[in-house]
């Protein structure tokens, strides 16, 4: 009986291990190519150097990749990135790439909650 119990438990453990293993998700370089019908005029923006230095400073401190968008009435839209979209494949981050916002969205939610009532 002891041996049978051991066999059953061991077999169950092996089956659970087998079904729980899967390959990590990996992306081909083509996944990161930009195909949006959008003309980026960020390089003509008045603060391009200032913003880019800021992003490079952040990635220089150990953040793998960061993107930022700044929209003002006077200077229009600036989109910029620094760092990598994929460390394994050594692919640089572009402003068209998708990133997870994670807890960053909390900041935007708080900002909106405060400013919208103020704006009426």
């Amino acid at each position: 009986m002891k041996n049978n119990l051991l066999k059953i438990i061991s077999l169950l453990g092996l089956v659970m291990l087998a079904v729980s293993c899967s390959d990590d998700e990996s992306f081909q370089p083509s996944f990161y190519e930009c195909s949006l019908p959008f003309t980026d005029s960020s390089q003509l923006h008045g603060s391009v150097t200032e913003y880019q230095v800021l992003l490079d400073k952040i990635t220089g401190s150990g953040v793998p990749g960061i993107m930022m968008a700044v929209q003002t009435d006077a200077e229009g839209l600036w989109l910029g990135t620094s760092g990598k979209a994929d460390l394994k494949s050594d692919i640089s981050l572009q402003s068209c790439n998708m990133t997870r916002v994670g807890s960053t969205v909390k900041t935007f939610t708080a900002d909106g909650t405060i400013t919208r009532p103020t704006a009426g």
């Binding site: 119990l5 051991l6 659970m16 291990l17 990590d24 793998p64 990598k84 394994k88």
Partner: protein, 175 residues
């Protein structure tokens, strides 16, 4: 000797029973009985386990604790355990470290955790009249991993649904 397998889930305690995808754990352990009576057992546990969470981590743990079983005449046992232990985890993903301005691929020394576990469940004595009866058991284990992510998420709660068996290595031994 106890041998058990379980399915781990990162979940709020007592909100889930069994989740998918399966994150298997395997555990071997032993017990030392402090006191026994016709309807109870009070004992110390010592366990060694392995936990595998696909895409996140794998880890080894050692824990020990106390357990109390209430025994019914027909072989059923109600079980409660409180255990403390050490868990050491390693990521299952590619790992990068920031060195001299760039990321380089490489493993670190893993992460040290404390685990605090409260388990409740039931067991069944397969030969209820023998003091060395084999036992099968089912436990719902709720546990806290600390620290989890320093400066961000201090601790993480987990649950395991565990099935296992307990037997004496030397079947004819009478305690």
């Amino acid at each position: 000797v106890k041998v058990a397998v379980s399915n781990e889930a990162t979940a709020i305690l007592y909100t889930k029973l069994f989740t998918t995808p399966v994150h298997p754990c395997m555990q071997v352990g032993t017990e030392y009985q402090y006191k026994t009576g016709p309807h109870f057992e009070f004992y110390q546990t010592a366990n060694l386990g392995y936990i595998y969470h696909n895409h996140l981590y794998q880890g080894l743990y050692l824990n020990t604790g106390i357990g109390y079983d209430y025994k019914f005449n027909f072989g059923l046992k109600l079980k409660g355990l409180f255990e403390l232990g050490y868990l050491h985890t390693f990521t299952t993903q590619d790992e990068y470290q920031f060195k001299e301005g760039e990321f380089v691929n490489g493993m670190d020394q893993g992460n040290a955790r404390l685990m605090t576990m409260l388990s409740v469940g039931a067991g069944y004595l397969l030969k209820k009249n023998k003091p060395t009866s084999p036992e099968i058991f089912l436990l719902y284990k709720s546990w806290i991993e600390y620290p989890y992510s320093r400066g961000f998420i201090p601790m993480m709660s987990h649950i395991n649904l565990e099935i296992g068996c307990k037997f004496y290595l030397f079947g004819n031994h009478e305690k």
